[in-house]
């Protein structure tokens, strides 16, 4: 009797355990391809240089940081950032504000995600909130990812997701993303999301517990992490940003936090982010601060002789190996091989350096009319918003040209 019972349990267990095989068998994922944005209509792009500075935040909180933004259907800009008494304080919330495209003015910001809201949604204790990243999903809903910490510092972060189906007027109950096997600890975000042809989202993330390295999460239409690829390993690379250049080819750049020389890291993928080349140091200096990039998507950039749209990469970064006291824009027209410094948005070189005076965590966005929006943390107490167009970017003679092949000793895997 006992033997028969065991045999039955064994057969049933075997049948149940074979069920994951079904998922493997069913995993007919088509070839992984990036979904590239459609070129913007030529007629809307202005040839007159445009530049406009203003603040997106209005001092609702003493400290603000890490802005992210998206264009709405009516061409307004919706921005998000975290703000509170100070970074890591329990009163930190994710704030939302709208820039009206008709009068080009920011409204009054308000908190949309709080610690308590996240606690209730994820059924977990939450100690503090951090970096948000916004993107638009394939079903046109707005997805807002943001990190939260339940224990310890930022190395203990996990990612949450809340969605809006009404252009940011209301937000869904937050959902926790499971991305790490060790208590789901240490997955952080900063770079903008990319999109795949199957409608899933690629979210560049980074890990800070024990090691510091970049990863790329693949997130399905339901908001579940369904794959991830490691971009680097070791102790020095974080906050990857990805430039999809074709359906298979992408360049990534990362913030570097290792031994000098302090330079931005670069790497490539030729299989839509499944595998990544070794990280190499570029010659672009950076104090180990957040960077942001964008593939300019404007038909005015087309090459007149070939009738092909030139891929212009735009990078916002601190052009200094030590301090975050400038905000610089550089472009590359050869797939990040070389860069030209085009404009310095902020320049506040203080001697001696004053760390409270800083410009950091840039976010870039190009709207349907071709204008480019840069948001960044301004002295940690405001979110600055700069609107410009490509003609303005080119309106001054380039000051420097950085070649990534300039220094052979910079090449090699960075650990």
């Amino acid at each position: 009797m006992k033997h028969t019972l065991f045999f039955i349990i064994a057969i049933v267990s075997l049948a149940m355990s074979a069920s994951p095989l079904w998922q493997v068998w069913q995993s007919t994922e088509p070839e992984r391809l990036f979904s590239l944005a459609k070129p913007l209509p030529t007629k809307q792009a202005s040839s007159t240089p445009i530049i406009r500075h203003q603040f997106a935040s209005h001092g609702s909180t003493p400290e603000v940081h890490s802005a992210t933004a998206i264009e709405l259907d009516n061409n307004d800009i919706m921005a998000f950032w975290y703000g509170g008494t100070r970074e890591g304080h329990k009163d930190v919330a994710i704030y939302q504000n709208i820039w009206r495209s008709n009068d080009q003015q920011w409204q009054q910001e308000h908190a949309i995600v709080t610690r308590a809201h996240t606690q209730n949604g994820t059924s977990r204790y939450i100690r503090k909130l951090g970096n948000p990243v916004v993107t638009r999903a394939s079903d046109h809903s707005i997805w807002l990812f943001y990190v939260s910490v339940s224990i310890g510092g930022w190395a203990g972060s996990s990612i949450n997701l809340t969605r809006s189906y009404d252009e940011g007027k209301s937000w869904s109950t937050p959902k926790r993303l499971i991305s790490s096997p060790f208590l789901n600890l240490s997955t952080l975000i900063k770079g903008s999301a990319i999109h795949y042809s199957d409608g899933s989202i690629g979210l560049p993330v980074y890990h800070e517990l024990i090691g510091k390295f970049g990863e790329l999460l693949k997130i399905d239409k339901q908001g579940n992490v369904i794959d991830k690829s490691r971009m680097s390993w070791g102790q020095t690379s974080l906050q990857p940003i990805i430039f999809p250049l074709s359906t298979k080819h992408a360049v990534a750049m990362m913030r570097y936090q290792g031994k000098p020389p302090n330079k931005i890291l670069k790497q490539e993928s030729n299989d839509a982010g499944i595998h990544w080349s070794k990280t190499t140091k570029s010659v672009l200096p950076n104090p180990g601060a957040g960077i942001m990039g964008l593939v300019l998507n404007d038909t005015t950039l087309s090459n007149h002789s070939t009738k092909q749209i030139e891929q212009i990469l735009l990078l916002a970064f601190n052009n200094d190996p030590k301090e975050r006291d400038d905000m610089t824009l550089a472009i590359s027209s050869d797939q990040a091989q070389t860069w030209q410094i085009m404009q310095t948005i902020e320049s506040n070189k203080l001697i001696p350096a004053d760390n409270s005076q800083q410009f950091s965590y840039p976010w870039l966005l190009q709207t349907q009319n071709g204008t480019i929006h840069l948001l960044y943390t301004w002295h940690k107490n405001h979110i600055k918003h700069v609107v410009f167009n490509y003609p303005w970017l080119l309106s001054k003679a380039p000051k420097q040209t950085h070649s990534l092949h300039a220094h052979p000793t910079d090449l090699g895997d960075v650990k």
Binding site: F6, I9, A10, V12, S13, L14, A15, M16, S17, A18, S19, P20, L21, W22, Q23, V24, Q26, S27, E29, R32, A116, Q119, N120, S123, R124, Y125, I126, R127, S150, I151, S158, T173, K175, R176, I178, S180, P181, F182, L183, N184, L185, H207, L209, I210, G211, F213, K218, D220, N224, V225, I226, D227, K228, S229, R230, W233, G234, I274
Partner: protein
Amino acid sequence: MTLEQLQNLIALSGISLLLSAIALRLLAILSNKSLMHYGIALSLFIISFLSINDQSINMYLRGLFNDLSITTMVLLSYSIIATKTAKAEYLVQRPIIFYGISLVGIFFYPFALGIGMIDPYRWGFLATDHQQWGSILIISLLALIMIIAYIKRNTLLLICLALASLAFNMHLLESKNFWDYLFDPVIFLYALTYTLWHLNSKFRYKQV
């Protein structure tokens, strides 16, 4: 009830189960009044769900531990039952599970946490893994463990693997990664401690 609510309920129950099992074990050390112990453990299970200022004990602990794996939940449930009914069998059946979890975890966690470019955690995304050999490796490992469990007549191990597989297919935890259903750091640390203690005891016994 939505799938997300069900996932939350299962995960929070897992944490409450952990609390009850620990309480039961501690009480068993102190005295033999087992019925009262079960009453206390059940009370603790219920209390851990009670919300004070939108925060319950199991929500707080879930913030720290994340979700426990299905294997851990099965073992905790078994531990609660075995405390009273099947102690001898329980002791006989444990080692192979804990040896296995320790062995896999020793290799799994360092790589999954960033040593090198190989990430075994990625292999657990069975439905989307582009390198199919990773998924095949996990399925082969599972099949091997099932065969060992069958040969060793280990019903508990068979049930653990079967329920973990079924729960993964039904997406009963928030994760879409098979590893998260098979084991977690809580059971790994317990298994590692147990294995080291058990091996040490065996070694000492042989020396005597």
